[in-house]
Amino acid sequence: MRYSIFSLARAAFSGHKNWQRTWRDVSPKDHYDVVIIGGGGHGLATAWFLASEYGISNVAVLEKGWIGSGNAGRNTTIIRSNYGLPGNTGFYELSMKLWERMEQDLNYNTMVSQRGVINLYHSDAQRDAYARRGNTMRINGIDAELLDLAAVKKMMPFLNFDNARFPVQGGLLQRRGGTARHDAVVWGYAHAASALGVDIIQNCEVTGFSRDATGRVTGVETSRGTIGAGKVGMAVAGSSSRVAAMAGLRLPIESHVLQAFVSEAIKPLIPNVMTFGAGHFYVSQSDKGGLVFGGDIDGYNSYAQRGNMPVMEDVCEGGMALMPMIGRVRLLRQWGGIMDMSMDGSPIIDRTPVDGLYLNAGWCYGGFKATPGSGLVFAHLLARDELHKEAARFRLDRFRRGAMIDEKGVGAQPNLH
């Protein structure tokens, strides 16, 4: 069905009793041109771009649980394109531009809100680093503004500017950044992909790959039987190593847990997405009023989807340093998601050494903002068998070649990225 002001009015006047399912939940066919493993944002976006941009609609998306039950439903919903290194800047800006037209493209309200993302700086050295980053962004055609103290005070008068240890000196602002409704992004892509003939198959766990005599992948073994495929794409960040191991591959990835937090609802306070530059703390306020925030990964390998107390304490300390008045606000919910931490902090979108198997992995804890861009470039790779020009550096072999894209500059220690 197509959504419009009229469909909304019709549903409202009939007491909201006649809403139809927004996408088809189907059983698998025997064979597809492309099978995508993973019904998260990236997998569903890939399927939609395959069908809408590349004319390949005989596509299945296989999801072990229900769509959006992994990291797509566990993030802090931030979108931005304030990256500094070649390879990242262009790709994330491509993604940002796709966010800006997503709702029209998908005919679905994904609540994209360009409320601005501001990274606060607290020292002269940090100001210089942010100025450099802002300039890098502007050279690449991305919006960035370096705000001084007076401008930050005007925008966010509630911050603790008198903090003796971490005084706020200003911030780097990307006005086009902001937030989107994460679940709606999943449902929106499912809605639009399903309408173009993509099969979305839930409760279908991949347990192995079918290979022919040459070693080429010819399909997947699943909990709902064998499904043949011309090509198979993996978009299972968090579990990439486990799925790749079924094809005999070892990846430059470790799985780590990242926690996110929501407070009880309070009146409108935080006008944008804000990050504390002297620790690791980022926060926005949801439309329901809850403060949505997070910080560092816990730092140890984990598939448990839950974290521990030291990081909770550290994140809350970051919040308190910035806004001591939130100390009385109660934490409502807290959860964990499993991140594909790659060896340089950047993603991998490439063919694998196994014919017919394609990889979309290593998103670290920045996968949500990349959802539309990742879908487009991965669809391009699957459809054309060539790298998209904005994702040409996300190669699997870049570690061997020494062509790392290491924004933070910490080297091959995934828990530090």
């Binding site: 390998n301 598939y303 448990a304 107390m309 030291p310 570690f399 220690q413």
Partner: protein, 91 residues
């Protein structure tokens, strides 16, 4: 998660720092590029019981070798990593 340090007893997680999988062994100086690449970049990324190195920076400052289940965070063994500390415990 709490870790029972063989030197200090049971301590909270915040005292410890994580290095990672204890399995990769640094190749010899004359090793091939493939072996070095494998050591530096590739990981088994085990889902289940994994042997790993932790550092007790907030306590005795010893390196520990811990077996922990990455699916449940359950710790099944903690022992001093090979070195001076391990030899002292053995004595």
């Amino acid at each position: 998660m709490r870790i029972v340090c063989p030197f200090c007893g049971e301590r909270e997680l915040g005292e410890f720092t994580y290095l990672g999988d204890a399995k990769p062994v640094r190749p010899a100086a004359g090793a091939s590029e493939d072996e070095v690449f494998d050591y530096v970049y590739l990981r088994d990324n085990i889902a289940g019981a994994m042997s790993e190195y932790w550092y007790h920076g907030g306590g005795c400052r010893a390196w520990l070798k811990i077996t922990r289940n990455t699916l449940t965070h359950e710790i099944s063994s903690v022992e001093p990593a090979a070195g001076v500390g391990a030899r002292q415990v053995a004595r």
